[in-house]
Symmetry: C2
Subunit: 192 residues, 2 copies
DNA sequence: TCATTTTCTTAAACTAGTTCAAGAGAATTT
DNA sequence: AAATTCTCTTGAACTAGTTTAAGAAAATGA
């Protein structure tokens, strides 16, 4: 139950036994069915969420109702509406389960307690943030500089199994193209 | 000399007098002439840099030699090649002065000393990182979801004075379009 | 197992943005 | 002040990716 998350943390900082049990006491378990929402646009996002099982997607919807996928999350990943969680403003994202999911959550006040009682957890947060920042940065550079075909191939490499688990139009949304155009790309690549 | 940086920090955490002077002792002053490079692609980026005066741009160059601007930095901003600074790998960015600049720098070992001696500086780093993450995220969403004309208007709002200080082709690069197309957009907007 | 819904593909007409080339205007240097 | 270099604009031909619409294939539910 808690192995995955403790392992995830121990890659960066070491907990004592006491800290481990305190940390675990701050976690809440949550299950989601496929197509259920973890966060809906307009909610205040009150939790950091860690994925034990299943996968989810985060969707940004523009004022004229176009959807853009900003992130996938799978086993061993963290996900939330970062802006809403930090600022307390209503979420601009929907986060939806793409499969039945098992999750662990920490709410904002509990996180502050953790920072007080286990100051080195600040370091963990900083390192996680550095990692997400880097991957967001790489994604932006690649979305600015690479054509869709290349981005699709990058996606396949980066998530070698995910494309079997989810519909293609989610991948298209993630790449920032239409499902029709992704279909053309796939046809072209299949010929080669 | 140090007011701006101390003020920048005091927005988030409070230093004692002793911490202030320790912190200042870790800073190195640096001047750059217009068109000089703060970081060149391939260098190891060894400093966090804070801008006291002037402005700079960060450029990512693709394998086929196209340039993409990832960031501007002006007075009261921090800038570096984040990935190179954190991982010690060669920088993928060039950072170039667009005007004569006065800068303050902290090198990596000094930063580690600061974290040890002033643990709450971890919090400062986390908060800065959260802020940059958010602005990167917003920029990515807007580059995926908004047409160039709208992005240009957003740029004008976000940096109300910058467009007088720098050539248009830098703005075009920042928006991810050609200077020619920016020129058309400007013509269209001027008519209205 | 059949019906229904969801997902994927194809094609034709279209649009946002690029490329190339040439000239006009500004800013710097001598 | 002239010469040179740098920056911005314009237009025509082009390309990557979109839109719309319709049908095929696959998955799901009764």
């Amino acid at each position: 139950m808690y192995e995955l998350i403790l392992q995830n943390i121990s890659k960066h900082i070491q907990f004592t036994e006491e800290e481990t049990s305190f940390f675990i006491s701050m976690l809440k378990k949550r299950k989601l069915r496929k197509r259920q929402f973890l966060v809906q646009k307009g909610d205040i996002c009150k939790h950091e969420t860690f994925v034990i099982k299943g996968c989810l997607r985060a969707i940004y919807t523009t004022p004229n109702a176009q959807e853009y996928m900003t992130q996938f999350a799978m086993e061993d990943w963290w996900i939330n509406d970062f802006e809403s969680f930090l600022t307390g403003k209503p979420a601009t994202l929907d986060i939806e389960a793409l499969e039945d999911c098992t999750l662990l959550q920490i709410d904002y006040p509990s996180l502050q307690l953790i920072y007080e009682r286990i100051p080195k957890f600040e370091r963990f947060s900083r390192l996680m943030l550095e990692k997400s920042y880097l991957s967001l940065y790489k994604r932006m550079v690649s979305s600015m500089s690479k054509p869709a075909e290349e981005r699709y191939q990058d996606f396949l490499k980066q998530y070698p199994n995910l494309h079997h688990r989810i519909p293609q139009y989610h991948i298209a949304a993630y790449l920032g193209i239409t499902p029709e155009f992704l279909s053309k790309i796939r046809k072209k690549l299949a010929k080669q």
